[in-house]
């Protein structure tokens, strides 16, 4: 609850409805150009967070009269006046105890933008709740009391939002009215915070803003104020309206997790999902992970007709030119820059369960539309979110944040969280209690390989990329059989060469470079020869099995 002395009396009648000549056509035209920004707020009740959000809702005419009426004279601000903090205090239990239990979502709009606020409590279980609120936010407001300066709590909030990949962080220095609107307090907090952000290193958010406000009086929240002539920047709302909404990702490589295969009849097979990055058009080549098969988009199907183009984060259904065995959990990607398919990666974990992390057992990991069993094999460190120190620990407890190594039973196709928040994130689920026990952000994949990849490309790198080792395969059989083999391997993403005039030297050079060299002699019977080994084949699948047993190609994804 606000503790300040001065409570302005709000004039409900004039505030709620500032009538002007209304044109529906204009309104709807505006609506069409309206985008969406999700932001999170961090700070405690003492910092005036509830009052600030109440102020944003109230001054943008986003609350109804009966809602204002229902709180008038209640709360701590006395009869007849409105305690704006009560507009946002949700649950009965919370009002009775004066605390906030959980993340609450609020909505308001201006002429240009719709806003979704994830309002996260500052006190109890702050890490878990803040991480939840920040996970979908493009921007976070960290609230600081002008009288108190940067507290350890403010540093925690800033660190967690940065860790969750929020790119725009606004430090709102509140209660400026209680420090006589003096620049001194504001500047000192700005300097302290900037120093802390610089310590974050790689995690430092790219955009940092400072705004002096008074939530109680409304100064600089929605409208600019005359009380702080030394401040020339935008009001908080002006800032919220001006930062780019989350259209980032449209230019990134295509990512699309298959949620569902639609098969209403024999003539239609579509793959439904939400585009996690990039754009797609009919005719585009795609790769399916983990099989690495290459295919092409035939159409983008929606209820409203086929689309000429779709982009993140639209939900669509794709049909492909080749009939492939694709199922829920597969990831469709841009073939020129696919996600990495791996069973080992390093991730930041936010531990959210009362029961600490158990290194001896398996957890379920849900990543996009795929759920697999994993084991945490190592805790690299626990991050102290106040000092940013990396502590060596045996386990992670409730609200701890740490860096861990994870080994998955089945391969996952992933990106790093800094590249893609959807294909780089996961949750861990306890398979006994069914609770969500941790949130994870993938930091690096196959660390050793990646370190090497900066200089020399290795055999392992090539195998990872193409799905096979360099090898020379000689086929006997009808010509169409050789063609079918070439097609199949090509669709799997193989680096395949079928030389017209093979020589020993050229084959050696190609296989050393990681290529699969295919040569062929026509005969009745189908046979394959690889080195000194030979096998009789009945079909292409037989050949794939043979290559798997010879460890030329990776098994399991035929």
């Amino acid at each position: 609850m606000p503790t300040s002395e001065f409570i302005p009396k709000l004039d409900v009648d004039t505030q709620l409805k500032e009538d002007s000549t209304f044109s529906l056509a204009n309104f709807l035209a505006n609506e069409h150009g309206r985008d969406l920004l999700r932001f999170a707020t961090a700070g405690s009740v003492d910092d005036g967070k509830s009052t600030l959000i109440g102020r944003l809702l109230y001054d943008t005419q986003s609350v109804y009269e009966d809602q204002v009426h229902s709180i008038t004279g209640k709360g701590t601000t006395g009869a007849d006046s409105v305690d704006l903090a009560l507009l946002t205090d949700g649950l009965r239990a919370e009002r009775e105890q004066g605390i906030t239990i959980d993340v609450a979502y609020r909505y308001f709009s201006t002429a240009n933008r719709k806003f979704i606020i994830a309002d996260t409590p500052g006190h109890e279980q702050y890490t878990r709740n803040m991480a939840t609120g920040a996970s979908t936010a493009s921007l976070a407001i960290v609230l600081v009391d002008a009288r108190k300066g940067v507290l350890t709590q403010s540093r925690r909030h800033a660190c967690i939002t940065a860790l969750l990949g929020v790119r725009h962080i606004v430090v709102a220095v509140n209660k400026m009215d209680l420090v006589n609107y003096e620049k001194q307090a504001f500047s000192a907090i700005g300097a302290d915070f900037t120093a802390f952000f610089d310590e974050l290193g790689d995690m430092r958010p790219p955009h940092l803003y400072f705004v002096p406000v008074s939530a109680l009086t409304g100064d600089n929240v929605v409208r600019p104020t005359a009380a702080m002539p030394w401040y020339e920047g935008p009001s908080l709302l002006e800032l919220l309206e001006s930062v780019p909404a989350a259209e980032a990702g449209v230019a990134h490589p295509f990512r699309f997790a298959v949620q569902r295969v639609l098969r209403p009849n024999q003539d239609f097979r579509g793959f439904s999902g939400q585009i996690a990055a990039g754009t797609i058009r009919p005719g585009d080549a795609i790769m399916v992970l983990p099989s690495r098969r290459i295919n092409r988009v035939r159409s983008i199907v929606t209820f409203d007709g086929d689309l000429a183009q779709a982009q993140t984060p639209q939900s669509v259904t794709l049909t492909l030119t080749d009939e492939l065995d694709i199922s829920r959990g597969d990831l469709i990607v841009a073939p020129e820059s696919p996600a990495i398919t791996t069973r080992n990666f390093t991730a930041s974990l936010v531990w959210m369960d009362e029961k600490p992390l158990d290194l001896a057992r398996r957890y379920l990991l849900k990543h996009t539309s795929r759920t697999v069993q994993v084991q945490i094999t190592d805790i690299r460190y626990r991050l102290d979110v106040e000092t940013l120190k990396q502590d060596a620990v045996e386990t992670l407890k409730f609200n701890d944040i740490g860096l861990v190594k994870i080994e998955s039973v089945l391969p996952l196709s992933v990106d790093s969280y800094s590249t893609n928040r959807i294909t780089g994130s996961f949750v861990l689920i306890d398979s006994v209690t069914n609770l969500t026990v941790a949130a994870g952000m993938i930091r690096s994949v196959g660390v050793e390989t990646i370190a090497k990849a900066t200089n020399v490309v290795t055999e392992a790198d090539r195998r990872e990329r193409w799905g096979h080792s360099g090898a020379h395969i000689h086929l006997f059989g009808p010509l169409h059989f050789a063609d079918a083999v070439e097609r199949t391997l090509f669709l799997r993403g193989a680096f395949l060469v079928r030389p017209e005039f093979p020589s020993e030297e050229s084959i050696a050079v190609l296989t050393a470079g990681g290529a699969l060299v295919l040569t062929h002699d026509t005969s009745e019977e189908k046979t394959v020869r690889f080195g000194s080994r030979q096998a009789v084949l009945s079909d292409v699948d037989d050949l794939l099995r043979f290559l798997e047993t010879q460890a030329v190609i990776a098994g399991g994804n035929r």
């Binding site: 259209e247 209403p264 994130s425 398979s431």
Partner: protein, 303 residues
């Protein structure tokens, strides 16, 4: 040369999120159902379900909890829509309570809702063994809804515990439950009342005629308009009059007040909404029976 990507509107973004949720539930649960309440939010949810699975049919049935006090037009509309979208429609009523004459005046509204809505809902879900149930609730409707997850976990008795909600990050939803437990799913969580109306306009979604203003018989009591639908609503000496009016949200006829309005088209409704000074549930008697009443009802298993 790639076409320039254009920024999506907020309605496109909300639609994409809702469709993702609908598909996720249909793919991860054994026996999902969509609670269909016939109102404008249900109408939007139904359209989103058509979109999510097109060209395949909606892969789960619709369930209507019928209290016996729904407006006649609502029931007609329900049957017509179910046929039109080719969905299986199930109707569940608490027949013993209805037979014993349960109504909001004989009982109080709280106990009436408890029997005809909450109990009927729990019995219906239980009878068919549904493990996930979509509801059209939005977080902007009411304070306790603002704290609801998109996947709202319910124990074996269908109860909500706000202090023990599962964390919900990114677009990753935890669908794991033990036998007997269930998840209520709210695909419209992030929609506001205005979003719903604009989407209805944009997509040309059919809605019940009661939303549009027209001369309707009403009992006028202390400025409130009570629709003439059930005779027991009238007090002694109260006369019905024709009033140009409409309903802003649809519930049971004895507990849903109408508003005076001449908004007989969607644009007029949107225009009227922009000028409204009270929230849409203000005309619902049931939410006001006691402080935090929605929260208590949710504890007991309500949506």
């Amino acid at each position: 040369m790639a076409l320039a990507a254009t920024a999506l509107t907020h309605l496109q973004l909300l639609e994409a999120e809702s469709i993702h949720i609908l598909r996720e539930v249909a793919s991860e649960f054994e026996r999902p159902v969509m609670l269909y309440s016939i109102g404008k939010d249900s109408s939007v949810m139904l359209r989103l379900a058509q979109k999510a699975f097109f060209p395949a049919p909606i892969p789960f049935p619709l369930l209507h909890i019928d209290t016996g006090f729904k407006f006649r037009e609502m029931i007609e509309f329900r049957d017509r829509m179910a046929a039109e979208v080719e969905a299986e429609l199930l109707v569940w009523r608490n027949e013993p309570a209805i037979a014993s004459g349960t109504n909001p005046i004989a009982l109080d509204t709280k106990r009436c809702c408890g029997l005809l809505k909450t109990q009927a809902l729990l019995d219906g879900l239980n009878h068919y063994g549904f493990d996930a149930a979509f509801g059209g609730a939005r977080r902007d409707e009411e304070k306790s809804r603002a704290k609801e997850r998109i996947y709202s976990f319910r124990d074996k008795a269908g109860q909500w515990d706000p202090k023990a909600q599962r964390p919900e990050l990114w677009n990753l939803y935890n669908s794991r439950i033990h036998p007997g437990e269930s998840i209520r799913v709210f695909p419209l969580s992030n929609w506001t009342e205005m979003d719903v109306w604009q989407y209805i306009l944009q997509e040309d979604i059919p809605i019940v005629d009661l939303y549009f203003a027209k001369e309707r018989p009403m009992y006028v009591r202390e400025g409130a308009l009570l629709p003439v639908e059930q005779s027991f609503v009238a007090r002694l000496g109260e006369q019905r009059q024709m009033v140009l009016s409409r309903l802003r949200s649809l519930g049971c006829s004895p507990c849903t007040g109408a508003i005076r309005s001449d908004a007989d088209t969607l644009p007029k409704i949107i225009e009227e909404l922009l000028s409204f000074r009270s929230s849409e549930r203000a005309n619902r008697v049931i939410d006001h029976d006691q402080e935090g009443s929605m929260e208590l009802k949710k504890h007991e298993g309500y949506f």
